[in-house]
Amino acid sequence: MSETLTGAQILCRELLAAGVDVIFGYPGGAIMPFYHALPEYPGLRHILARHEQAAAHAADGYARACGRVGVCVATSGPGATNLVTGLATAHMDSSPVLAITGQVGRNMIGRDAFQETDIIGLTLPITKYNHLVQDVSELASSVREAITIALSGRPGPVLLDIPKDVQNQKFEYEAPPAGATPGTLAPGQLAPGASPGNLEDGIRDAAELIAAAERPLLMIGHGVILGNAYAEVRALAEKTGIPVITTLLGISAFPESHPLHLGMPGMHGEVHVNRAIQHADVIVGIGLRFDDRVTGNVAAFAPRAKIVHIELDRAEIGKNIRVAVGIVGDARDVTRRLVQAVQPRNCDPWREEIQSFVRPRAESFSGDLSPEAILASIYEVTGGRCTIVTDVGQHQMWVAKHYPYERPNTHITSGGLGTMGFAVPAAIGVHVARPDESVWAISGDGGFQMNMAEIATMVQEGLSVKMAIFNNGYLGMVRQWQQFFHEKRYSCTPIWSPDYVKLAEAYGIAGWRVENRAQLEDVVERANAHTGPALVEFVIAQEANVFPMIPPGGSLSEPIESAPAPAPVV
């Protein structure tokens, strides 16, 4: 049975059929027919962002938190270009986001019309798929296809550009048959029929390498979270006794209290984790891409190790490092088979050796309000039942290193692109996906000021997001690099902040400033219990550093563990 609908109505119907129930967006001229239709579909909740970039980050945060496609909507021209950073962020971190942009009418395309931008051309390299819908007759199939592509295989963002007149075009719409919609496909799972052929040889080779290894490591990444492979990875670790390293985006894929958990590798990894990599004879990497922040100098990375790389995206295998065994497949499926193929063993001598690598943690701050104390307080107050969304910079590394993650997928951050300003809007999406648990957005004073306008979104929509600002008066990570590698010339890194408590007051939300440890527990407790958005500014030492640190391009064997001797200030 068909009915006559406009393109805008068909779009709404297809989104609903795909299981979409929330949209983060911002209206404007070329998307107005869609916004005209939207009130007819109360199943589609719309959250009005204060900037399209934030709408894209919120859709990304939503997708990462619940594994369903996150949808953002913007108008043509500036609305569409404002999505770009959010889409690039989602692309680097394999997040299934659907962006819908209005476009000028078809008869105006290519004539530099008002608010016309070639958003298809702009987003080609940062989307998994994008498409200009040329006619209403192809709209429904385009939406289904875009969502399918976003969710299937290695997830990623997609964009549909829909001319205004196509949104107004009428068409005989045929609803999709029940169960034919793509919204339920678990991200990271291969689409039916897409499973690659022979995995057995690779699994047998991997099992043999594991059996023969004296110093094996498991290194797990975002693919374990996307593919829901927690139990399988844990079973593999426990059957073999192999210690587990979690990359930045792999954090929370393995409980940190587990005796086999080692920590984060790479540029800001603990010394013993990186030394373990340098001494390992076999590394089994699952769902990660060995990016340069993990490997440091590739030529000097894990010089003794044979590498087994299990990865859904075939193009990642051998891209950055040479592998002994590459297995293309879903993390869950391949790991489950690998668990069956390996013989039980332990790695006790190797684990003792790694323990001997452990060094006392380098002093990273002065003053009594340490990042560790703040994070411990958040953990204690929430009982660990919270999701932490971080921004980019020093605080991001402190959280990655010190927050004791126990539950899967409770750490959300911009890893690959390193997008400052991510945390606050992404936390909006995370909160919408997980309304019943605490969501803390942790930012530095730099990143917070990039997207703090989104407090208004939280107020208008009644979103109870908790915001923590680690305020050191600097763009801290850049300042740290200036201190270590640029003769301490703090060029353009001191950053002024408004009075955040007054800012909170202006927005009508709760706000506190914490300047010493004595205030800590009480304020965190009150902020966490507060109904509605709340903001806490933590005033921390200005020259706090993240230690240890592998210099950019350096080998994992050469960590920096203390600040350089003071150089003359220029």
Binding site: S141, E145, T148, I149, K319
Partner: protein, 176 residues
Amino acid sequence: MALSHAISVLLDDDLLTFNRVIGVVRRRNVPIANLTMGASQVPGVSRLSFMMQADEANADRLVRQLQKSFGVRHAAMFPAEDAVTREIALIKVRPAATNRAELAAVVLQFEAAVVEESPGAWIIAMTGVAARIESCIRALERFGILEIARSGAVAMRSGAASSPSPAPHNPSEAVL
């Protein structure tokens, strides 16, 4: 530039897919030459081929990236020495009244053809491998070359091995 590998891609016959594929090549920042695109054995699917200078591993990485581009039906690489290539060149020359016989002899020598004779100029068409075409162009220089248009090399793997014949993309079929 010594070109080590031929890359052959079967892709949906639309500009956006072409744009996407070229974007992948550009982002990998590899030197390429002789890019051509035209019809393949399947209606709606084009064949794009080019030559590149890279070691085996880098050529393979590029092919893997191409394979995951939306709209690419098949992508493969093979060493330049395993490729059969042909290029066509149109060369417009301005012979003097006194050396037309000589020009006709050069055309015959290279198994080229005079495809147009107009009062001020002749257009010579030449098909062959790139080196042979370059020899022909050098031989024609003394007649006064006005214009050259070269197609770039179309390439195919030698021997019986052949690429598949994938159907073009059909959005309604791709939906789960």
